[in-house]
Amino acid sequence: MLAIRHVSKRFGGLRALRDVNIEAERSCVTGLIGPNGAGKSTLMNVISGFIGADEGSVTVDEAETIGLPPHRMCASGVVRTFQNLQMFSDMSTVEVVVMGRTRHRRASLAANLLMTPAVRHEERDAFLAAQDLLVRMDVPESFWLRRAGDLPYGFQRRVEIARALATEPAYLLLDEPAAGLNDKESSALGETLRKIADGGIGVVLIEHDIDLVMNVSARVFVMDAGTVIASGTPSEVRSNPDVVAAYLGEEHD
């Protein structure tokens, strides 16, 4: 279980996160929704180690990880994607996914400089693993050797997820993966996410596309103004008056 407990974060006078508690289980999709400025992305940055928290703890399968730098978070089994696509644009598509194998590389720096047979072997394995993932993410083979930055946007999104999966994570955090996708691409993405979760990975989905979240999530957390205002199954959340208020701005007691 990926557990976020009592996490708070201030930026000067702004309380970006206030005592946030969220849990995400393996093998299912956990949705995280909320209006703009609710603190979703800040929370994502805290979990993945890009910014520190003022208080609270983040545990990955019972191991405390708060304060670890991003590359160590990756080693603890948490990997993320980015809201504004962070592609290694000038690499070939397959190489972008090969980068995801970084934490599984055993060869030393010196061995790489000498390009020992072990390194060649490791390179080949990494490319084979990357090609497998590209197949799983339905990226056509004709794209594999093309410059990643030249791929259509929807495919770059898939390549980004393939790169994240290449790290063999326990938890996959997706920051608005459906942004910029059309309805068809979006529902295909939902299908893919469910498959990823079926494979044993805990998927945390931060999204503006409410339909997507409600369709694929086993549990949904709703944030507003830096705190969690509701959680539950999609249908419970949908009928929660606080959630309706946060989204529609209705007055209520």
Partner: protein, 335 residues
């Protein structure tokens, strides 16, 4: 993870494991063969020495190519590492009379250590700020070289070294020293090529393209930056040590900002992302002033105009420019 794989797709995954021998490597190999051919072709001993100097510069340029072209870490202070290599080599050779090759290796090691050391405080700086910081480092080291006269000889009388001997053989004549430098360049190009075609080079590129994405897939960004500073300084220090035995007598004036800028020009002119580009750039920047000697008073002007024209029409470097030009010509013929 158990995602379904369609049989047609899994068949095709067996193909293309790994990247084929890159065009960059082939081009580097061709250049390494061209240098000896050139030295046999020219009879004038001055031209022979210019050729050796261009190979010495190429080693330093390959180092900067890894830093700037791969990792995106600009350095306008490379002359400092060049000087460190040269002075430490000269100092060890003169004071302790150790084997010149060992002195050069020690000079490169000292440069590498200092490169690694400064990378830590610099690792949070980007682009302009990094350029300023490395520029400042270059200036400080120049002032040190010019004033620490007990160690460097300053601007006058400068430093000097004995002949280059290797295991008792005198290799100091330009014909023989050519091969010493050629071997050093060959090894540098080999290692740089290995970096470029394995995970290390890919990680450096990843750090340049998106440091946050690189970190999120497990790349230790600070460590990679330290590594590239160390290897860049190592190669530039090696180049400096070789320069010491090339010039035999030199002063601090060689290690000023001018040389740092020259190295930067070599890398940008050749190709930022190809090791072979650094060699081409070093060759051209070293040779052109000699070729333009016939323009006498106008040589700086002609040199400047040539640079501007190359950058205008081949902004991604000569190597890329010539390759794409060749490709266009070939396609033109087919149509």
């Amino acid at each position: 993870m158990k995602l379904t794989v369609s049989p047609a797709a899994s068949e095709s995954t067996a193909k293309r494991p790994g990247v084929p021998l890159s065009a960059d490597r082939k081009l580097s190999l061709v250049l390494m063969v061209l240098f000896p051919i050139c030295t046999f072709a020219v009879t004038n001993s001055f031209y022979k020495s210019v050729l050796v100097l261009s190979m010495i510069n190429a080693i330093a340029a390959v180092g900067l190519c890894l830093m700037l072209g791969f990792a995106g870490e600009i350095s306008i202070g490379q002359a400092a590492f060049y000087g460190l290599g040269a002075y430490v080599t000269a100092y060890l050779a003169n004071q302790f009379h150790i084997e010149p090759a060992l002195a050069i290796a020690a000079g490169a090691a000292v440069a590498m250590t200092i490169g690694w050391g400064i990378s830590r405080p610099l690792s949070r700086l980007h682009e302009h700020y990094l350029a300023m910081a490395t520029l400042a480092f270059g200036i400080i080291m120049y002032i040190f070289f010019a004033n620490a006269r007990a160690f460097t000889g300053g601007l006058d009388p400068g430093a000097s070294v004995e002949r280059f001997m290797f295991l008792g053989f005198d290799l100091s004549s330009m014909e023989r020293y050519f091969w010493v430098v050629w071997v050093a360049l060959g090894l540098s190009v080999l290692v740089a090529g290995n970096i470029a075609s394995t995970q290390v080079g890919r990680s450096l590129l990843a750090v340049k393209m998106s440091a946050s994405a690189a970190a999120s897939v497990g790349v230790d960004v600070v460590r990679m930056k330290a590594f590239v500073f160390a290897i860049g300084a190592l190669l530039t220090g090696l180049s400096g040590g070789l320069y010491a035995y090339f010039a035999r007598s030199f002063n601090a004036g060689t290690f000023g900002i001018g040389y740092s800028i020259e190295l930067l020009m070599m890398v940008v002119l050749g190709s930022l992302t190809r090791v072979s580009g650094a060699i081409v750039g070093a060759f051209i920047i070293t040779i052109l002033p000699v070729v333009f000697e016939q323009f006498e008073d106008y040589k700086t002007l002609v040199f400047g105009i040539t640079m501007v024209l190359i950058m205008k029409f081949m902004p991604s470097g000569l190597v890329e420019g010539v390759l794409s030009l060749g490709e266009r010509l070939l396609r033109g013929k087919r149509n």
